[in-house]
């Protein structure tokens, strides 16, 4: 890059002679821009940057994505649960879409308030309006691609709106292959539009848009007093800072706000409440105000009028350029539009009940151990602690020193087993098994666990995580089951603990142990002062108990 001294590196010189590329870059960076240019003009660059982020993360997602219904959901689940960095890449793409819409709109608002669309920049503005529409089209088509309930039902509503347009409706429906509802062909077309049609069109229009910006120059203030300056490095520096701030927001969103994947699309689910993404919420809400033949006004006429009004803006407002602070009408229009949009969105959010959908990527598969009762889990813990597995195998398999418990424990009662644990050689003469030294309650747990063994769940022994066993041991020792119920076992004096993770978070639970009265005034629960390790284990296990007992 030139540093202004005019002397180039020999490699750059070589490249220049062969391709002319360094010169092009230099011309681009050394463009003259008005002295008034500054922070208010950074949004175009951020929009371009957002688009690049979407391209990179979109390509990365496609490396592990199967674009057919069913498979799509499985592959997104795979990205979210199996791949390191998968949730991050999906998070960047998901939140990047929202950021891009925000930035494109901000870019538009700035140009609008400054009146930068005026002659001769009408073409640049119209291309910008089309690019805004394309950005929304990405959001609409991308919404279906995870193929979960949210995707499916949101798209059902969107395609039905398209179908209601007089004249064009049937054609749109046929183009989207949505005549008989959302199917495999609909999905293929949404995917194709999202990754094959929109990107090249967007790139072409961005190219034209930037070309026109360069052709007409960056829009000046009404009166430019100072001489022109160079685009690089002053304005590039401002753009870079703005891009960096945007990037930090995006990164923070992707790290902290996990993008959920709901249950796989289920057309028979009658309880699901469809909701569009936040930027379409205002349209969703507007449809509530128009009924019967007037519905078209909300779904088709008003949105299209708005688009036409946007396109015609430079031809409607042909007055001379004024300083933005004097453009009261423009500021008023933006303010009113923002207020309308905000009001509709807020009303939509407030009138839509909170989603009860579950993020399936947080359910760690259908793990059998989650259906075990606390006493059985604690038993598994004692089984492990007493090293029972050294001599006994749960399943039929390679013979070990002791009998395999599947066949041997069959038909025994818990009392018989406990008696045998206490004094092995009394029940089985000649047994080499050492007596098990556990308290009565612990013995019950061990017996319950051994009796629970079946060929199907013998693998449980290896799959039960340590925190669950230790947590359940703490639970049993403190007789929590005297008031609480887990997987259908226990009493109902206190609340059942299944699905606790959907109601409470870790901090709340831990604080509640120490001071139940503070968080649940009037509760019968006594305070518990667990050792830090015990507190950690029991909380982790409680949070892992599924909402409904796994079968």
């Amino acid at each position: 890059m030139s540093n202004g001294t005019g002397k180039r590196h020999p490699v750059i010189e070589w490249l220049e002679d062969r391709t002319g590329l360094p010169g092009l870059v230099e011309d681009f960076l050394m463009e003259d821009i008005p002295a008034s240019s500054g922070w208010h003009q950074v949004f175009g660059s951020i929009a371009l940057f957002s688009f690049l982020i979407q391209m990179v993360t979109g390509i990365l997602l496609s490396f592990n994505y199967a674009p057919t219904p069913g498979e799509a959901w499985n592959s997104v689940r795979y990205i979210m649960t199996e791949l390191t960095g998968g949730p991050m890449i999906r998070g960047l793409h998901h939140w990047g879409a929202s950021i891009m819409i925000v930035v494109v709109v901000l870019h538009m608002v700035q140009v609008f308030i400054w009146g930068a669309y005026k002659k001769p920049r009408e073409g640049t503005w119209i291309l910008g309006v089309i690019l805004l529409m394309l950005t929304l089209a990405y959001g609409l088509t991308g919404y279906l691609l995870p193929w979960d309930n949210r995707a499916y039902w949101g798209t059902v509503v969107a395609t039905q709106i398209g179908a209601s347009i007089p004249g064009a409706g049937p054609w749109i429906t046929r183009l989207l292959a949505a005549e008989n509802g959302i199917g495999v062909a609909t999905f293929a077309r949404f995917y194709s539009i999202h990754v094959l049609v929109l990107p090249p069109v967007t790139m072409l229009l961005i190219g034209l848009h930037v070309f026109l910006v360069r052709k007409h120059g960056v829009a000046p203030a009404p009166v430019e007093t100072a001489p022109k300056k160079k685009f690089y490095p002053g304005q590039v520096f401002k753009d870079t800072i703005a891009i960096f701030i945007t990037f930090c927001i995006l990164f923070a969103l992707a790290v902290t706000m996990r993008v959920p994947l709901e249950r796989m699309a289920d057309p028979t689910d009658t309880t699901y409440i469809p909701r569009p993404d936040w930027y379409f919420m205002f349209l969703f809400q507007m449809l509530k105000f128009f009924h019967g033949p007037l519905e078209l006004v909300g779904s088709v006429i008003l949105p299209n009028l708005a688009i036409v009004a946007l396109i015609l803006t430079p031809f409607i407002d042909r007055s001379a350029l004024k300083a933005p602070s004097k453009r009261t009408l423009a500021i008023g229009v933006v303010f009113l539009a923002g207020l309308t949009w905000g009001g509709l969105t807020l009303a939509a959010i407030r009138s839509t009940p909170p989603s009860e959908a579950v993020d399936v990527t947080l359910i760690k598969g259908p793990e059998a151990w989650q259906s075990l009762t606390p006493i059985e889990l604690a038993g598994a813990g004692f089984y492990k602690r007493e090293n029972c597995a050294q001599c006994h195998s749960g399943a039929a398999g390679p013979n070990r020193l002791g009998p395999d418990l599947l066949t041997r424990a069959k038909g025994k009662t818990a009392a018989q087993l406990i008696e045998h644990f206490r004094n092995p050689s009394a029940k089985v003469p000649g047994s080499q098994m050492p007596p098990v030294h556990l308290t009565g309650g612990e013995m019950n747990g061990l017996a319950a666990f051994v009796l629970k063994l079946t060929p199907a769940n013998a693998a449980l022994l290896d799959s039960v995580p340590a925190y669950a066993m230790e947590g359940a041991m703490v639970y049993q020792k403190n007789q929590c089951g005297a008031c609480h119920m887990v997987n259908g076992v226990g009493q109902k004096m206190g609340p059942a603990l299944n699905g606790l993770s959907e109601r409470r978070n870790r901090d709340w639970i831990q604080e509640h142990f120490v001071n139940p009265q503070k968080l649940s005034p009037g509760t019968n629960m006594p305070p518990y002062k667990f050792a830090p390790k015990d507190l950690d284990r029991i909380t982790t296990w409680l949070l892992a108990i599924p909402a409904s007992g796994v079968q």
């Binding site: 199967a66 791949l83 960095g85 520096f237 891009i243 960096f244």
Partner: protein, 161 residues
């Protein structure tokens, strides 16, 4: 030399560019190169490849069996092949069916009493040792054991040179 405004801006532009590239590259690289989580923890168990008591001793026999494989977001059931040589009632060798040169499927040539690869004419002894051709090492073997008359196959172990 004191830092003028222009140099300061250039440095900041470069630094921010580098920082953002790194912030994107780290998750991208781990996304592309890290081994999927369940695949790195799950061990394939033994697969029953059927009754081979009728296979004559010391004669290679192609055995086709079914196994399940974790394949990305799917668990697929697929057919797989092993070349099996019984050395005795409970002693067995099971060779993985691909040439160690470039992965072509080789076959047993009974007239020459050797395995031959059709691609680049590597040949191997019944135990899988390289007899000729460009193959760099002996044929890979499945972990194999007999349970009664049934052949149990485990993972493929890479052969030494």
């Amino acid at each position: 030399m004191s830092l003028d405004r222009r140099s300061f801006q250039q440095i900041v532009i470069g630094a921010i560019g580098a920082a953002m590239t790194a912030a994107l590259a780290i998750p991208a690289v781990s996304y592309l190169f890290a081994i999927p989580k369940s695949r790195s923890t799950k061990k394939d168990g033994w697969v029953d490849a059927g009754d081979i008591s009728q296979v004559p001793l010391n004669t290679p026999e192609e055995v086709v069996f079914r196994r399940t494989r974790v394949d990305g977001w799917k668990i697929s059931a697929e057919r797989a092949t092993a070349w099996v040589i019984r050395k005795g009632p409970s002693e067995v060798i099971a060779l993985a069916p691909q040439c160690t040169h470039l992965g072509c499927a080789y076959h047993w040539e009974d007239s020459h009493k050797e395995f031959q690869c059709p691609c680049h004419t590597s040949s191997f002894s019944p135990e899988g040792k390289v007899l000729s051709g460009p193959a760099p090492r002996a044929l890979d073997r499945y972990e194999a054991k007999m349970e009664g008359n049934r052949l149990m196959l485990g993972e493929v172990r890479r052969s030494d040179a």
